[in-house]
């Protein structure tokens, strides 16, 4: 009887050890190396611009604002609209007064407007879209008529799963990136915004990995 009890205890201990090892293995397996590489490549918060709706323009919003990134609020979609000067010596700059119209697979539509630093976003609590999404970019030419939208461009492909525009749209253009989300119809008199953090303009953290293959 005593021997049986000891054996049962040994068996229980072995089972517990196995279970703990399994949990540890699962936790390690939850790491996403490519997402970690992207997060590691992002700069620190710009001085004077604490976390908020204008911080970190051009960065992949949902990478952090997600259960994996651990930053609240959780976002379903987020990005930044840029003007790309014709002169290559000048860097792209963020655009206010644009709207991104998104249509999800169930026909739900949202129009997200850019703020003074070009950022636009949707909290997951407000909208949890069914991917893939169709994306269109509009100009809002008049402040006093915000519902008047003039189409600028339509995204050629669908957004398959990544709510971060900058998950794919990374400056500069490369075989793996179409460049930043770029407004094509921009008034030449528009100038870069004054009171904004500097945008993240790459480099694409995936390129060294790709070059090494």
């Amino acid at each position: 009887m005593m021997r049986s009890a000891r054996r049962l205890a040994t068996l229980a201990h072995a089972g517990a050890t196995l279970f703990a090892a399994l949990v540890a293995a699962l936790l390690v397996a939850c790491d996403d190396p490519s997402l970690d590489r992207l997060l590691d490549a992002l700069p620190d918060e710009a001085p004077g611009f604490p976390p908020g709706e204008v911080h970190r323009p051009g960065q992949p919003c949902v990478a952090c604002h997600s259960p994996y990134g651990g930053v609240e609020p959780e976002l379903s979609v987020g990005g930044t609209v840029f003007a790309v000067p014709k002169d290559d010596s000048e860097a792209p700059f963020m655009l206010e007064g644009y709207a991104v119209r998104l249509v999800d697979s169930e026909g739900e539509t949202r129009v997200l407007r850019t703020n003074r630093c070009g950022n636009f976003l949707s909290k997951k609590a407000d909208w949890d879209p069914a991917f893939p999404l169709r994306a269109e970019l509009y100009q809002v030419p008049r402040d006093d008529q915000p519902d008047v939208l003039v189409q600028d461009s339509v995204m050629a492909s669908r957004i398959g799963r990544d709510g971060s525009c900058a998950g794919c749209h990374i400056h500069p253009k490369s075989p793996f990136s179409p460049g930043v989300v770029e407004a094509l119809k921009v008034d030449a008199s528009v100038e870069p915004p004054n009171d904004c953090p500097p945008p993240w303009l790459g480099p694409d953290p995936r390129l060294p990995e790709i070059s090494a293959q």
Binding site: S4, R7, L8, L11, S34, V103, S105, A130, F131, P132, R134, S153, M155, A156, S157, R158, I159, G160, R161, D162, G167, C168, P172, K173, S174, P175, F176, S177, P178, G179, L184, L207, I210, S211, Q213
Partner: protein, 214 residues
Amino acid sequence: MNGPMKVAHASRLGALVTHRGRSSRLGKLVAHRTLESLVALAALVVGGCTIDIDAPASLERPSFEQFKTVSPLLEQRCGSLDCHGNLARPLRVFGVRGMRYVNIFDPDQALELADPELARENGSFPGAGGKPTTEDEYAQNWRSACALEPEKMSRVARGELDPDELLLLRKPLGMEGHKGAALFVKGSSDHVCITSWLEGDVSNSECELSLKNP
């Protein structure tokens, strides 16, 4: 030596949870099953040794020429940069709407990875202004589609297997777990476009129609 010890051990384990008589029967059963498994394994190994490893592989694949009509559909529906337009995923898809193919064994092309200016000059980037899908990209996409399940694909190409058995269709049809969810239904222009290619008679009209879907 190991066999009897394992059997005895299994028998002891059984004794912890069963009556003494039942554990003995369990031990015999385990020993019997172990012997059966060993015999089956030995037969498999002996059988496996008779394969002629020098014989050429005889996998068949659906037409590459016809695939060029199907590729734009895969590029549009599957090949966005956050899905299969990604080197890290199976079924890599290249093309004008997503990832561009760079032959790293061609020194001139490989430079595009290190020099964005060169990539831009060559139109080697996705989206507006990028060069149209190239012959190399069609070839890569065809290889991706065929290499997903090469043996099954070969059977489909021979007409021995229903195309809907392929992961290439089971995933977008929602019959298999798919991060990108169900993308089309049976009988839709997308579905007919791909199956017609797999069956050797690609439907140009259905493939064209599929590209007009929202």
